[in-house]
Amino acid sequence: MTHQGDPGETFLGISVDVDPFTLLGLPRRPLDDSEILQALGARMSAIANHPRGQTHEANEIRLAVHSAAARLLDPQLQKVLLNQAAVVRQSTLDDEIPQQDRAFPSAETGQSQSIPHPLSHDVLLVAAACGGWNSHAMRKLAMLAHARGIASSELPGVITEVLAGASAAPSVQSPAEENDEKGSQERVGSIRQPARSRNRSLGTRLIPWLTGSATLILLVLVWARLTGTQQQPPVAPDESNHASVSPEPSQTQAVQQQKKPVPIVPASMDARDAARVITDMAQKNTPLGESDLDTFRAAYRAVAANWISLEPDRRGALHNGLIELLYRNTTTPKTSLAIIHVINGTLANGIGSPDDYRSWIWSAGTLSRLSDERNYPTAIDSALISGLTNAFGTESPSGGQGFAEAASLALHVSAKSAAHSQPFDTFWTVWLQQLEAVLTPNSQAHSEAVLDAIESVLVEGPDPSQSKATYQAVDMLTSVLTLEPMGDVSVRLVGWFSDDRVSASDLSCVMRPLITRSKDKDIGNNLLPPQGMNQSERMVLRSELERVLLGKDSGTSKAVETWVDIADQQLALPPGSRPVEIVGRALLFSRLSAAANATLWGDTQSADSILGNLTDDIDRVIGSISSDQSAYLGGNSADEWALKYIDARQNIPIRQALLSDLTRGKRVLGPVAAELIVRDAFLGTPAAVRAQAREIVLLYADSPAILNAVLEYLPRIPKIKSSSELIEAVTYARLPSVENPKWSVRARQACVDELLRRISGVGEGQAVDLLVTMLQMSYEDRLSNTGSTARGPGNAVELTEYAKRLAEFWRQSASQVIEDINLLARMDELDRRHAGRKLLAKGSLDQFAVEQVMGVEAMALLVAAERPQLKQHVETITDELRVKRRTARTILDQILACEEAAVRLWKLRLRGDAS
């Protein structure tokens, strides 16, 4: 200790030896906790802001201030001190006010005292320096112990020793008793005090004892709380989130706040007391000061960590108090923002422990409730929105949501994030406790929330057959549900059977506890999914569940019969010979497969829709093929406009006027007109005409005549950037730089391919391309229950991608089901054959056919594995497919053969027999 004077004089302008009321700047009257904590906060702020705030002396005065606050926070001690103050005032004032022993009351109690541990004093100093007994203080103490050669394992002993001294001391002793017991021993320790005269006043003798005893009680409480926290798994704070939730006050301020000692809320202050502190603060008609904020922070954290113990009314009152605090402090935005920062701060801690998780949910709901109010300053609104975004991400409440709704949403969001891995072991227990605090148990909303959580775990989490945590989570969540006919759980359960994201083992995991716990006589073990349930068995079980749980005929059997009838009719029809007819028929079979897929998954509505519009649009497309293809480049070659333009020769105004005519209304350009425009767009003079002609080219970029003209002029155009850009615009292609030697080849290639597409895409070609787009949509339907998503513009490349995804789905499904060694060997053959075919494929048509046949062959393996009794029929279908593909005249015939085989396989799969 280097400072020789009284540290209290230095920092606070008063001596540390004064009574706790004076030291904290409080009047001598009965005080409530909030006043004491406010005063403590103010003192701590004053010390922190002092230039010598980081010195050892400052730590000593902090200790004294903490000690004083601790004494006053104890109601009994406060009463004693008030009485004592009265006695002191009445007693002779000539008594010298004794130098208060700051630390060890036992020195004054006269009890037999052992020699304190060398670290005993350090414990107190470190606690004071670190703003209380926290992880930082513990770390610092451990370092000190290490420096002094004391094993870390001794530290708990030291603390226990200090605590034991406190507990051994009588809580309150009468002055007489104290006089009797007062010993003459001198304390051995770093703060040794001279023996006092026996004739000191009662108050003088009581003060040191009370000081030490209160300090130790304080340490006991703080130790108990902090060690409880330490046992929880550490959670790394998300720094980015922290930054995002506290844009204001500035980061520097935030750091300063972190450095400030947080007022210690007595552990006896439960959520209700803390809520009362906040509501009391709200009732005061004055803006919050620094110390108030510290108090608020401590109280808010106490509430947030255990908000589920508050009744809804009390929660409402608390939120009203918070809103009142925000409104009252709108004139000092810094204070309002600091309040929101406190709330956001609990969000930043994440959900790594039960307390943090409860705090997270509370703060998320609170922010939503606060944001429901109007007329906040923009800064406060922004801070609230920032906090909400941080909590909810993309699922932020749109506004107008109360605490319960927002907390439910926060629980939903957190359930989704916890589905992958639980943040702590008892996560789902805490989740259910909080859900029950906001939603009435057994209500529909409660059941829905639990079912949503189960779905998140099933869909997002690891497979229950692979993860014990998933299994336990589902078991825990299903424990609050009741499976009964016509109930919400039943509806959702049947829905999961139609959801491809929910696997067979997921269904088994969720159904077992529900069925076991169900008391309904109709719900028995016969509804349990069989081991290794395949898709066909799943369809059968879903129908049975619909019957038992929903009391309705699913209509699946009727839908299957309808599908089979239509499929048989279509399979019996003779195939066409024109390409457009073959593609149309392939599309029809693809639609039948899509309808079969929808039927399998119980989506009979979609199946009906597909079957109801099976051929109408196909017939319309084929029937609308125009036979007149004479003007395939569009327009009349002996165009009047073209004649005028030729006649205009070098007359610039007339040419410009004629070009302007073309911009007034789009018309069909003939080849002569197109070539004249393209010539001037690349080679025309002056520049104004050239620019105008370019605009026309861009305007008519989709015209085959314009593209043909560009191709014709290509060998003569200047290789400049503007030319390249114009070609890119009409061919929809990216070209290399004009300096690139490959530019000419690529430009010609782009023009040729695009012109070929446009010219072949008229008449029957147009119909073929239109049917390809429809085929793509049909494949999209077929992918709808496979977990693959397929969206995109209709073109041949996209269709190939869809076929590939479907083939992958079939292959994966087959590999999951196949156990027969022969079928496994055929799966290997299939892969090798597919690789060989891929290498032989040239264009998108070939590539589609390769993926398509892979899908059908994999599907055949799946059906053979699912229904071994139909293996022979499956082989007949695949043999016929092989022959048809081998004898096909064109690739379109092969494609049609594959689609037809797929329909035959679906028939086996849906009916389960070969009838």
């Binding site: 490959k742 040729v752 005249r889």
Partner: protein
Amino acid sequence: MNRIALYILSSLITLTICADTFAQPQLQRRLESLSPTDPIGYILLAEDVSGSAKDVGEILLARRLFVLAFVLAEKDPSQAEAAEFPIRASACLALADLETSEDRKRWLRALAGRIDRRYAGQRWDAADAPHQADESAFLLAEAVGLMLSGDGSLARERLDDPRVLALLEQTRDILDRPGNEASSAAILREAQIWPCPECGNARGVPDRSEGGQVRRLCSTCRGNPGPVISREALIAYLGYQSLLLHGTQKSWAAELAVGLGRPILDPEPSEIAPTMGVDPTKVYYRAGKWLDQSEFMASGAGQE
């Protein structure tokens, strides 16, 4: 002198006929000596027949023998292992040499590569031509385009390049098909005709009836120099250019238009016999006929 030459020629013809006359029974004997337990015999005879094949019948015989060698080697792997060369893969490559269709050649080479990785090393799957069109292909594509636009002189400049002309000759089968309006001859012919003899590709000519002050469309080219062709012919020429330039088609209609609609054959050993139209059970040759095991036994040859 001429008499001597005539004598030598007639002697050669006589020798050839005699050789053929003697060869026929020899071939007959070799065919009848073939045994399904010895696939090597089939492939060796197939190589001899294909090497000296003079007509379609002999080519078909060689193809049958290669296919049978392939099938028999597949049935009896020990025989295949005893051979000093991979029978099945060799048969595939030999069959590829007999094929005229590029697709079939690719398929057979793919099969050889699948059976024996050493043949896959020959990159049957890699395109023979580079992915980027070479200069002569580009010039030929340009020549076709210039011919179509009536720029005959520019087209001729390109066609005068011997590399371009050679390429046109090599690839003429793509265009010169029955019923196809587009042809390699038409390219050369039209390149000579254009530019427009009346307007010189100016598209318009002075209208004499109006005193020459007003222009009218050229009566020869109707303002659009170049040959008047149908949509199918234009598609054929564009498809030809696209193949030369290694273009990529963007739609099924375009692919079908340029002839990319041929079926894909599976590179599967089991596909080779049915695809080649050979009955793999008929492995015995007797009295000018191929017999299967039962027919062979019934004929009594089996008890010989």
